[in-house]
């Protein structure tokens, strides 16, 4: 695919797509006999929004993120991502969609420890295989650019992931999540291992580099709310399960998050 074709495709995608995430009548249980741990009637996030999703441990945050990533499939209901019927796609199509459109940053253990920074980032490019880069030179150039934006030294490019500090690893993980220019970013408690100063620095960098993407930022730490305009709690979303205690949270002001 040449560059003009790629641009056309991106422009077309941007014009067409206004809703990043749309969840309808979603239910999920780990087994048929067990009670659903998620039951979301409707949840919609417009493109470009940065959402803070909170909830106590075990409330189903990670399960929801796995459903959004496609590593889990809903027991019932529908998930549309970027206006694609994500939950109806085949496993293979979901994997390809994830590689090309979703960037993921974990709480920790973000990188494959035995690979270098460059190899970790290249792996994401390899699996996406979306024709964004013509050759490895272009990947390297984009990687350098991202590392610089994330205030990481170029010399780290060939360092093994497990030789980096936690903070550096988190930044490299962001670089890897962003290398394919994803439209959706899913960030799962990335600051839990960072101190307050590092957390501030990390958050401002994240907001900066992910300005053009839709981002769901998950944390059980309510203090992180302050970095986001829009927020909601998992218990709010999980309305039909009777977790109405969280309904007092400020996120109700967000018009785009509709609770059933």
């Amino acid at each position: 695919m040449d560059l003009s074709e790629k641009k056309q495709r991106v422009q077309h995608r941007e014009v067409e797509c206004t809703t990043a995430i749309e969840v309808t009548n979603l239910q999920f249980a780990y087994s048929k006999k067990s009670k659903p741990i998620l039951d979301i009637k409707k949840w919609q996030i417009p493109k470009g929004e940065h959402i803070f999703l909170s909830g106590p441990s075990g409330s189903g945050k990670s399960t929801l993120l796995n459903l959004l990533c496609g590593t889990l499939t809903p027991s019932k209901g529908k998930i549309s991502l970027l206006e694609q019927p994500f939950s109806s796609l085949s496993n293979r199509q979901r994997d390809t969609f994830r590689a090309r459109n979703i960037g993921v940053v974990f709480q920790q253990f973000n990188l494959i420890p035995y690979l270098s920074v460059a190899q970790n980032i290249n792996a994401a490019v390899y699996f996406a295989n979306n024709g964004n880069f013509k050759n490895t030179k272009e990947v390297t150039a984009a990687t350098y650019q991202l590392l610089n934006r994330l205030q990481l030294s170029d010399s780290l490019l060939h360092a093994k992931a497990d030789t980096l500090s936690i903070g550096q690893q988190q930044r490299v993980a962001i670089a890897r999540a962003l290398i394919n220019d994803p439209q959706l970013l899913i960030i799962d408690e990335p600051t839990s291992a960072l101190d307050t100063d590092a957390r501030d620095s990390f958050m401002s960098l994240l907001k900066d580099v992910a300005a053009d993407s839709t981002m769901i930022f998950v944390s059980h730490d309510e203090a992180m709310k302050s970095y986001f305009e829009h927020h909601c709690s998992i218990s709010q979303l999980n309305g039909s399960l009777g977790n109405s205690a969280s309904s007092s949270s400020k996120d109700t002001t967000n018009p785009m998050q509709e609770r059933a």
Binding site: S62, T63, L72, R92, R98, F106, N122
Partner: protein
């Protein structure tokens, strides 16, 4: 990219990977060694004698007769009266005859008493004649023609003297000091037991044993009949015809010894071989035994076939054990690789990619082991070459690795593919459910 991940992943588990490679390397080497020795033995034995239709000796086993006469292995059978040889000479069906007298050595190398007819008629490999790299054939009763390995190992050349010893051991206390033989020629390398043998005249050998001093009484005849070409002469046969005979004026065939150990026969027509064999075996004057070299070799392969199969089977089992060890190693690492699997899945790797990744790792380990094995076995065989030829009469010829080696390696790779399916499927299954909460 997948191979990079596989390589880096193996580097991460260096110690277990090295131990696994070591065990697979040893097992593949063992299998390759068995295969090479098996093939080389066949090649070596088959190419040692060519064109000899019958071998006649005193009654014993046909293998014993074949091994002692052609391969210089084992103890020679008791002698046969030369009158029997004379009668064979006069047989209409016989084209040529080579008498061999065995039982002596020179510094551990077998000494074979014979006549110039040996150099004229004996063939090896693909009906190749013996050729001389230096000197000529027997030119006096105490002449010796030596194999190329003896010349290079003992540093002998034409004109050097050598003393032979009675018996077959490496060390002998019964040297025939009073009858030193003079090297008249050095044979070109053949890759057969000929390279490690000293050929002397029957006359010289008998005199050395009897202690008589008649050796100087050479029997001279027209040299035209007992000529052997040197390698150069083979190439320039016509140009140098007048030079060929200058050094051969001794008729080694004219001497009549009391007995010889074995006689090799060339027949006018091969079709008569079985008939003549029957006649000789029924001989009433002296009990004799005639064998067909091809049939004796077939018997040898039959005996060796079972041992071969056993050795190959055992080596194959050892390889399978090593491969199961490889699968166990990969399976054991799956638990610690859960986080890695989760990361790969979330950046877009499909479960099938994870399956492939584990299989690439297994294949890499086996390929590395196979390459190391080939190097190791090649080096080992080259290092053991002199010992194998000296002790077992096994002459290794190139190429060491043939079609069967390639088949073995391919089979091992196929087995690796199969056994690696176990850890690979585990990775696949884990990959199906690996997600954010499980790393």
């Amino acid at each position: 990219m997948l191979s990079t991940i596989a390589i880096e992943s193996l580097k991460r588990r260096k110690a277990t990977a090295i131990l696994t490679i070591l065990s697979i390397t040893i097992s593949i080497s063992l299998l390759l060694c068995v295969d090479i020795v098996r093939n080389q033995v066949k090649t070596s034995f088959t190419r040692t004698v060519s064109g000899v239709d019958l071998i006649v000796g005193a009654p014993s086993g046909q293998l014993n007769l074949l091994l002692s006469s052609v391969f210089n292995i084992g103890t020679p059978t008791k002698g046969i009266d030369y009158k029997s040889v004379e009668s064979l000479k006069t047989n209409n069906q016989v084209s040529w005859l080579i008498p061999l007298s065995l039982g002596d050595t020179h510094r551990g190398f077998r000494v074979v008493g014979t006549t110039n007819s040996f150099f004229e008629h004996f063939k090896y490999g693909d009906m190749q004649h013996l050729a001389l790299s230096a000197g000529g054939v027997f030119n006096q009763p105490l002449s010796a023609v030596i194999g190329s390995d003896i010349a290079s190992k003992l540093g002998y050349g034409v004109g050097d003297e050598m003393v032979i010893s009675h018996g077959l051991g490496n060390v002998s206390f019964n040297n025939h000091d009073k009858h030193p033989f003079v090297v008249s020629g050095v044979l070109e390398k053949t890759g057969t037991p000929v390279d490690k043998a000293v050929y002397v005249t029957l006359q010289g050998l008998q005199e050395a044993h009897s202690g008589s001093q008649q050796a100087t009484a050479s029997i001279v005849r027209k040299p035209a009949d007992n000529h052997i070409k040197t390698s150069d002469e083979h190439e320039h046969e016509h140009e140098h015809e007048h030079d060929e005979l200058t050094q051969v004026n001794y008729d080694s065939d004219a001497f009549t010894p009391q007995s010889v150990s074995v006689v090799m026969l060339g027949l006018k027509s091969r079709i008569t071989a079985l008939q003549l064999q029957y006649q000789i075996n029924q001989s009433k004057k002296e009990p004799l035994m005639a064998i067909l070299p091809g049939m004796a070799l077939a018997e040898l392969w039959q005996i060796m076939g079972n041992i071969e199969a056993l050795l190959l089977g055992l080596s194959g089992l050892i390889v399978i054990c090593a491969l199961i060890g490889l699968a166990t190693m990969l399976l054991a690492t799956m638990r610690e690789r859960y986080q890695e699997i989760a990361i790969l899945r979330t950046i877009g790797a499909r479960p099938f990619t994870l399956l492939l990744l584990v299989q690439i790792e297994a294949m890499l380990l086996t390929i590395i082991s196979a390459v190391l094995s080939i190097g190791l076995v090649g080096a080992l065989m080259n290092a053991l070459k002199p010992w194998l030829s000296g002790t077992y009469g096994l002459f290794l010829s190139s190429p060491l690795f043939g079609k069967s080696s390639a088949i073995i390696i391919l089979l091992i790779l196929s087995c690796t593919y199969l056994v690696s399916l176990f850890p690979a499927i585990t990775a696949y299954k884990r990959g199906l459910h690996a997600g954010l909460s499980q790393h």
